[in-house]
Amino acid sequence: MAKILMKGNEAVAEAAIRSGCRLYFAYPITPQSELIEYMARMMPKVNGVFLQAESEVAAINMVYGAAGCGKRVMTSSSSPGISLKMEGISYLAGAQLPCVIINVQRGGPGLGDIQPAQGDYFQATKGGGHGDYRLIVMAPSSVQEFADMASQAFDLADKYLNPVMILADGMLGQMMEPVEFKTPKTDAEIADMWLQHKSWCIQPNEDGDKKHHHEINSLEIDPVMLEKHVNKLYEKYAVIEKNELSFEKYNISDDNEILCVAWGTASRVVKSAINEVKAQGKSVGLIRPINVWPFPYEDLCKAIGPNVKKVYVFELNTGQMLDDVKIAVAGKVPVDFWGKVGGVVFTPAEIKEKLEQALKE
């Protein structure tokens, strides 16, 4: 299939539909509004359900209901709207329901602004909602990757019966790049995908035998039972931590004097700066976590070459992934951080300057 020039917001929506998503509930918010608009346009054409809920809270609870029926379901929002969904996300994780949640981040805290930011890393990877739970969190850095992640996210959600979040930002949502889509899933394939959930999901009880009914619940009032349940969740998370690490190595070599770590949009800018200092004969590498939970602690530590004098973290926040990098580096070399906030995005020239300073140190 030929490449199409498309905004990230539209590309991820199209990819979700092609992955078999037929249920989408959301409430509009900039900078992800093209996503909800695209769904409004396209869902009726595939006999899917598009519903603009009365609020983000309603939308995430509709996701809970639809996921409980074993169907591929998605919602999307931007930072303040994602905060509103957090209670529902905790319930989804507790009830082990598969679904995809997209956060096209904007500046915060509070209503903040509508420009790109990465301030929701903690919220996405360390909880956000209450209780001991984890989301699988994927962080795209291009429109193509954003689209590809939609199908990966649905597959992961189905595989682990867990909500998956795609953590993008306003720049990826608004930017256009060429994108190539996978062949859409057929109705038969979509029906097949549902069958894998038949053993637990809500469905018509055809034989009328009450023993055969399924319950979807996140309430377990007996502490001993809840302890068992939470431990079971943690066994699942341990498997995810082992199996689902994903990261990109960029210009990693034994010559590296600095090892950068950046994710999403920020990593694109860092790559440009690395190319520029490379032209001056300096070697700087980059590790880009593609999944930010689970985080590639060991692989990041292994990527620190013999000549690396500093690990340099660049984020569009005040240092959130920085904590995970420090855990990974474990004091092996110094870890430094530089970021921009409030929806201001750093430029390749600014990162280049930071790298040049650090190379001189």
Binding site: L5, D113, Q174, M176, E177, S272, P348
Partner: protein
């Protein structure tokens, strides 16, 4: 090779569309492209700009610090972006809306009353097509034939007169770019 372009002007002058066509047509010619608009609380009459990158290699940052080409359709765009043009880079400026011009002598300046010429051609809205023509004429970044094919593919049936007007504007732009 990588070419980084910033197009800027008043909202409504069609600056985002200049970048969009460069990116779209660049893509059909097999190049890597990115298109990053300024977005936000902007409206017709406000300022708008777009960063477009066309490259033979994988595009790292879609954010442009130092453009190779700046298309400035009004004076505020020159004031804001002209200082960052790479030495030896190109400034395409619309003298109708840029009374003070640009003082730099280490860049190539192509100055023409593009808004007036658009009106002469018959529609102020072809201003952006003129600018695309100038880019094609000066740099050959994309081919006229690819641009024509793209416009024809969806405009010919719907509005053949507008198609002709657009193609005329592009051709006129190419002449300006070459002179």
């Amino acid at each position: 090779m990588t070419t980084e372009i910033i197009c800027a002007g008043f909202g409504g002058q069609g600056v985002l569309t200049i970048g969009k066509f460069i990116a779209k047509v660049g893509m059909t010619e097999g190049k890597n492209v990115s298109w990053l608009p300024s977005y936000g609380p902007e409206m017709r009459g406000g300022t708008a700009n777009v960063s477009t990158v066309v490259s033979d290699e994988e595009i790292a940052s879609p954010i442009v610090s130092f453009p190779d080409i700046l298309v400035a359709l009004n004076q505020p765009s020159i004031d804001k972006f002209a200082p960052s043009i790479r030495p030896g880079g190109i400034l395409i400026l619309n003298t109708t809306m840029c009374p003070h011009g640009c003082k730099r002598d280490d860049i190539v300046q192509i100055a023409a009353p593009l808004s007036d010429i658009a009106n002469e051609i018959g529609n102020p809205m072809v201003l952006n097509m003129l600018a695309i023509g100038v880019i094609i004429g000066k740099t050959g970044l994309i081919k006229y034939e690819s641009m024509e094919a793209d416009l024809t593919s969806y405009m010919k049936a719907k509005n053949p007169e507008l198609l002709e007007l657009n193609l005329k504007a592009i051709k006129r732009g190419i002449e300006i770019g070459k002179s």
